[in-house]
């Protein structure tokens, strides 16, 4: 980067860490002061959980090129593992349960990633569906997982870190924000390391990657493990901080697709992309229901809303694939460059 002479660089270059640090400062310092509880409960908490899941899936699909349709299964595995660790292991701090839950999700990810050693493309995508159906079946079938609760729906434990209770929407927001920030930072470090470059090499040309000495099989399994770890933790946030209940039904195939859509819309192989995509996916249904209610009034009941959401979402996916295959991130970068250029020339 430094090699580019100043007159060629079209925008003033800030150090890379400035924007994330400012955003974090804003998220920690300003948002809790101005946010309403609706903002936290309905927007920010699902946004954080889905963003993290998007980051996880992006490592597998965006960077390593292995399409997975089973993300929700790993979210479910994480949520239920954390619940059971918390319930059954005396004195284990919450953070410990969450970490172990990530490990469990990663282990399941490796098992269901094994077919990737022989299969590619569509065959692999379909085989990841096995994870989706198997995990959901196991969680519903064996009531041990939900502590023999009659309804299968269980309350999440209270969130607390070293005796300090994180009740209320703002507390849960801090809890989720911290985990997401730490894991996103680690994911960012990972993809800019040698391992990250290995992932990209495997995605772009497996044979070439093997020739230059990248252990392809190990790299693929590593991608499954890391991705599932992150998605598993995202599942914990989804269940513990956002929904406050743990149940298998919420982690269905639609959720898996939703996470895939997040990274397509946001931008494949981009950490930022997951956040852009998740923001759109979370805000867009709310905006659509407001808009529909405003324009059409009573005609716009929840059934119609559901269907029109599906239609608009599907159309968005296709539009993005055709017009902006690199996602919202590319769009955002272009707009920013234009603005800066316009600002410089005046």
């Amino acid at each position: 980067m430094a090699a580019i002479p100043a007159e060629f660089s079209s925008a003033p270059v800030l150090p890379k860490w400035v924007v994330p640090v400012l955003l974090l400062a804003f998220a920690y310092g300003v948002v809790p002061l101005i946010g309403s509880s609706y903002l936290f409960e309905a927007i920010l908490l699902p946004f954080l959980a889905l963003s993290l899941a998007g980051v996880g899936l992006n490592i597998l699909t965006g960077y390593a090129g292995q399409v997975s349709l089973g993300s929700a299964a790993f979210m479910a595995a994480g949520a239920f593992a954390a619940y059971n660790f918390n319930l059954r292991v005396e004195g284990l701090p919450l953070i410990g349960s969450i970490f172990l839950a990530g490990i469990v999700a990663a282990a399941i990810g490796i098992v269901f990633g094994l077919p990737s050693l022989r299969l590619r493309g569509f065959y692999l995508a379909v085989s990841t569906l096995a994870a989706q159906f198997f995990v959901q079946w196991a969680l519903t079938k064996f009531s041990w997982f939900s502590n023999d609760s009659a309804s299968g729906v269980i309350d999440a434990p209270r969130l607390s870190i070293s005796g300090f209770a994180l009740d209320g929407a703002v507390g849960r927001y801090f809890f989720a924000l911290t985990i997401v920030a730490v894991l996103t930072f680690l994911a960012h470090r990972l993809v800019s390391s040698q391992t990250g470059r290995n992932l990209i090499a495997v995605r772009d040309n497996e044979t070439a990657a093997r020739i230059i000495g990248i252990p392809v099989l190990k790299t693929k399994l590593l991608a499954f493990a890391i991705s599932s770890f992150i998605i598993g933790v995202a599942g914990v946030i989804w269940a513990f901080a956002y929904l406050r209940t743990v149940e298998p039904a919420g982690f269905n195939l639609d959720r898996s697709f939703q996470i895939l859509f997040i990274i397509i819309i946001g931008g494949l192989a981009s950490i930022r992309g997951a956040f852009f995509g998740a923001a759109l996916i979370v805000v867009f249904p709310l905006a659509l229901s407001r808009l529909g209610g405003f324009l059409l009034g009573d005609v716009f009941d929840s059934g119609v809303l559901d269907m029109s959401q599906r239609i608009v979402l599907g159309a968005l996916i296709i539009l993005f694939l055709i017009l902006e295959p690199d996602g919202l991130v590319a769009l955002w970068d272009r707009i920013r460059r234009r603005l800066l250029l316009a600002w410089q020339t005046t």
Binding site: V67, P115, L117, R118, L119, R120, G121, F122, Y123, A125, V126, S127, L129, A130, F133, F134, Q136, W137, K141, F142, E206, L253, F257, L260, I264, G303, V304, D306, M307, S308, Q309, R310, I311, L313, G314, A315, L316, I317, I318, L321, I322, P325
Partner: protein, 299 residues
């Protein structure tokens, strides 16, 4: 142990499984058609199936005669096929297959949403006029409806494979499947061919939708039969009609047998994932499926 084994029951389960496998094959053929000619795994096939069945039922309920409703629905499916070619496939020509797959995922959302927005979300019964009375063949009870479905499926397979083999447009399909660029270079009209293929897939969706709809009732969950067809495709190979049939039979039979004989050890309900496991285990041995082209997925 062997002496206790109830052969008649075993055969009954097996035949029931094979016949329900035919129903899976019927859905799978729609996928194979599209995959063969454009290399796309068309996830929207289930949505098309739902749309076709829902349109047909709604027309019949509004007093349209059976045959006319069939024709109108088919015409609508053709129109949808052409529209998909125009708006989705053409702008995405020469994009990687996985991009096209995601586009069909978006497409399935649009079609599912539209189908229910237009026709409503209630469950419709569908009566094809076939009595579902079990028939006794050699001491084994077989559902009459299943036999009808099997005959229809067999008819479709014969029709389609003849079509691919002996007609000019069938030849063009195979040329496109073989090499898109070469096909364009010798002057084949790709848009026309794709539109035809999607229309054919629409026809398969209509037939499968009617049979499945008569079985389950016409409702949203009909679009989920794709999830039953996918392991069949993986097993049979995405590009083989024969594979779709054999795969369907294998999956159907093993699923039913497993449910009856080993399901109890797992606490039942294993049919949601068992087919996938069968397909996966099989693929670990033969990565290109039963009849799939070798070079496609070889590592």
């Amino acid at each position: 142990m062997i002496a206790d084994f109830d052969y008649q029951f075993f055969i009954e389960v097996l035949v029931g499984g094979l016949l329900s496998g035919v129903m899976y094959s019927l859905v799978a053929i729609g996928f194979v058609l599209i995959y063969k000619t454009s290399g796309v795994l068309n996830f929207a096939q289930g949505a098309l199936l739902l749309f076709a069945a829902l349109t047909f039922v709604s027309l019949v309920e509004r007093g349209v005669p059976f045959a006319l409703a069939l024709v109108v629905t088919f015409a609508i499916m053709v129109a949808i096929g052409v529209a998909i070619e125009r708006t989705v496939l053409r702008p995405l020509t020469n994009k990687p297959p996985i991009t096209l797959f995601m586009a069909t995922l978006g497409l399935s959302y649009i079609i599912e949403g539209a189908a229910q927005l237009i026709w409503g979300t209630q469950v419709h019964g569908l009566d094809l006029g076939i009595e579902d009375v079990p028939l006794e063949v050699g001491g084994v009870l077989i559902s009459q409806f299943d036999i009808f479905a099997a005959v229809v499926a067999a008819g479709m397979v014969v029709l389609l494979s003849r079509f691919f083999r002996y007609t000019r447009i069938g030849l063009a399909f195979r040329a496109v499947a073989d090499d898109q660029f070469a096909a364009l270079a010798v002057g084949l009209r790709l848009p026309l061919i794709w539109a035809t293929v999607w229309a054919a897939a629409g026809l398969v969706a209509l037939v499968a939708g009617l049979l499945w709809g008569a079985r389950l009732g016409v409702q949203f969950s009909l679009s989920l039969v794709v999830l039953k067809a996918l392991p069949v495709l993986v097993l049979g190979g995405f590009d083989s009609i024969l594979g779709a049939i054999v795969g369907g039979l294998l999956i159907g039979a093993s699923e039913k047998l497993a449910e009856v004989y080993i399901g109890d050890y797992f606490g039942g309900g294993i049919e949601s994932w068992f087919a996938y496991v069968v397909a996966l285990v099989f693929l670990l041995i033969r990565p290109s499926g039963l009849f799939g082209q070798k070079l496609v997925e070889r590592v």
